[in-house]
Symmetry: C2
Subunit: 371 residues, 2 copies
């Protein structure tokens, strides 16, 4: 018999046996993990056979007794196959890469949460990278993730610039790129819901926020608003249009721009914000100018991030089913990884209007006063 490396000689040793049942993991703390080869040596078998047993490979004849012996040994030494080695051999890593601009704000994490749920449920792992909208990182990280074994990528709000050699699903990425499936909000529907809501309440003087140029959603959303406004016969006035520029995820994003609008003496009875965060900033600017929300000015947010419902007053907003979009993205990616060729180029998810406390009919009297 060969000398064994790192493990006890005696198969029937009691001490080691109890280390499995009890909490004596600490015993194994410093030691290397047990490999197939070591296990095989211990059992007097060859590694291949052990592998076959442990993976229940069909079409191999191994007697039940041997199988049990192998499994017992695996338990005993707490054998964990090296997924690294397995991945190398099988050319499958069961790992995908997730790319996001940021990890700490509500939008992305909500999507990530949906992605994570689905991936873990399906037995996949994921590597995360964030790029803060920096183009060189957006260029570099996909490569790194692929090198690191990612079989596919999910990109959240990320402006991918060219095709990649693996399946990619983009959430809120709007460029059409070959090989990239886009999971997007149905922005037309979103614009309909929000504008119609304000219109029905009686608002006609509405201030609009356009998203930052680097945000993937900005363009589509704006086009939809323009289109729906036309349908409703609502005028979009340039002097009531705010262009966001700053890369912020705090309400400060919406505060100064609304403040400026007020200082210039513009008249409006409602604001359609680009997102909830900016809406909160806008509301603060309004309050600081002694305007009440919604009595004096109505505000509609966008996204329905967690904060929206907690805010005071609670925010009327367009809900993006973010978690669901994340799940959808993960699901589509996994389907594509499983060789499903017939995937959609775009997958639109319907938004929902959540009416809370920041919208009300316009205050005619006030409007007159301020003009």
């Amino acid at each position: 018999m060969q000398p064994l490396k790192g493990v006890s000689q005696k198969p029937d040793e009691q001490v080691a046996e109890s280390a499995v049942g009890g909490r004596k993991q600490s015993k194994n703390s410093g030691e290397k993990p047990v490999s197939l080869k070591i296990l095989a040596d211990y059992l007097g078998l060859c590694p291949a056979t052990v592998s076959v047993v442990l993976n229940n490979v069909p079409g191999r004849s191994i007697p039940a007794e041997t199988r049990e012996r192998v499994r017992a040994a695996a338990r005993k030494f707490n054998y964990q196959p090296s997924l690294l080695a397995r991945s190398l051999r099988k050319q499958r890593t069961f790992t995908v890469g997730v790319l996001a601009p940021e990890l700490s704000d509500g939008y992305h994490t909500m999507v990530m949460s949906g992605i994570g749920d689905h991936l873990m449920r399906e037995g996949y792992f994921y590597l995360t990278a964030h790029h803060r909208h920096k183009p060189d990182m957006i260029e570099e990280y996909p490569r790194l993730l692929l090198g690191r074994g990612a079989e596919g990528l999910i990109a959240i709000d990320t402006a991918l610039s060219h095709p990649l050699p693996v399946p990619v699903v983009a959430v809120a990425g709007h460029r059409k790129i070959s090989g990239v499936t886009n999971v997007v909000l149905d922005h037309k529907r979103a614009a309909e819901l929000s504008l119609r809501h304000l219109h029905q309440l009686g608002h006609r003087q509405i201030a609009f926020m356009r998203g930052q140029p680097f945000s993937a959603d900005s363009d589509d959303r704006w086009k939809s608003i323009v289109s729906v406004a036309r349908e409703l016969g609502l005028e979009i006035r340039p002097e009531l249009t705010i262009q966001l520029e700053r890369d912020l995820t705090s309400p400060e994003l919406g505060y100064p721009v609304v403040q400026e609008l007020l200082q210039k003496g513009r008249r409006f009875t409602a604001i359609m914000s680009f997102n909830d965060i900016a809406a909160i900033g806008a509301i603060r600017a309004l309050r600081d100018a002694n305007l009440r929300v919604p009595e004096d000015v109505s505000v509609v947010g966008f996204d329905d991030i967690l904060v929206a419902g907690y805010h005071n007053p609670r925010l009327t907003t367009i809900r993006q089913p973010l978690r669901h979009m994340g799940e959808t993205a993960a699901r589509i990616l996994l389907q594509r990884l499983q060789g499903f060729k017939d995937y959609p180029e775009e997958f639109a998810v319907p938004p929902e209007l959540i009416i809370r406390e920041t919208t009300a009919p316009p205050n005619k009297r006030l409007l007159k006063q301020r003009g």
Copy 2:
């Protein structure tokens, strides 16, 4: 010359050259990534030599001309080494695992953000897993992550039950486990800051929230409060003590418990909440009972998650430097991975009192009325 697999025969071919400079990545979309062996075949060298050049291994003599030839070829075929294979060979993956209960709420994502920043800066990747406080998952995922190649683990608010064979850093995990470094808040200091603040304002009838049993921080924080209260001569009354039970990350966590307190007619002028989310729920319950915050009841939160500053009224709270704690955790873990043996068992980070709008002197008149 050997036949080459998958790449063009001619080294000087113009088309391939331009594929590197231009955006023609799409050409390579379906194909397998180029391996060292293929590259070597193409160059008429052996894989080892190519590896040596590309990694700038010192102590090897390769003429500059050959080196340049190799590098040119690598660029040309957009060679990306398989980190999988490299990891297997070098027994280093540059990957760590991150374990969290949840991905979508402010607390964990803020910590994750700090972790992610530091790890990426140092060239590490990380795999994430979330367990929703389910014990079997807390048991299983570390194993999986290790099998997947994680060299170390960071556990956020996770009740690890036993030592692991790799370095572990826990954020807000309070059990002392061998091999686990704890990054924790200085809870004693936190209790001092918040209680003293309320005490100085004049509050004597304070309702307290105790965290859920499964939350790692709950115990320590409570003990600190009890201890500081004693020092200040403040009485902690059982009928004003709320025990949180539900596993929620929404304000609903704090709403019903405070409502119940009010219905029972308890007198109090301030609430010390277990966290910001619960504080927001508490405030809502107070408002729904026609009590004003802070005029009638003061509320102190905990964590200073993003929402705290956005809320209306803006929340007075104890800031946990969450991002910083994440960074610290990552830094300690990396040090330990680099063989730094002399790591601390515990690393306490000081909190900060953020005074905003939810605390004010007590309303004596009201207190009398309600009694």
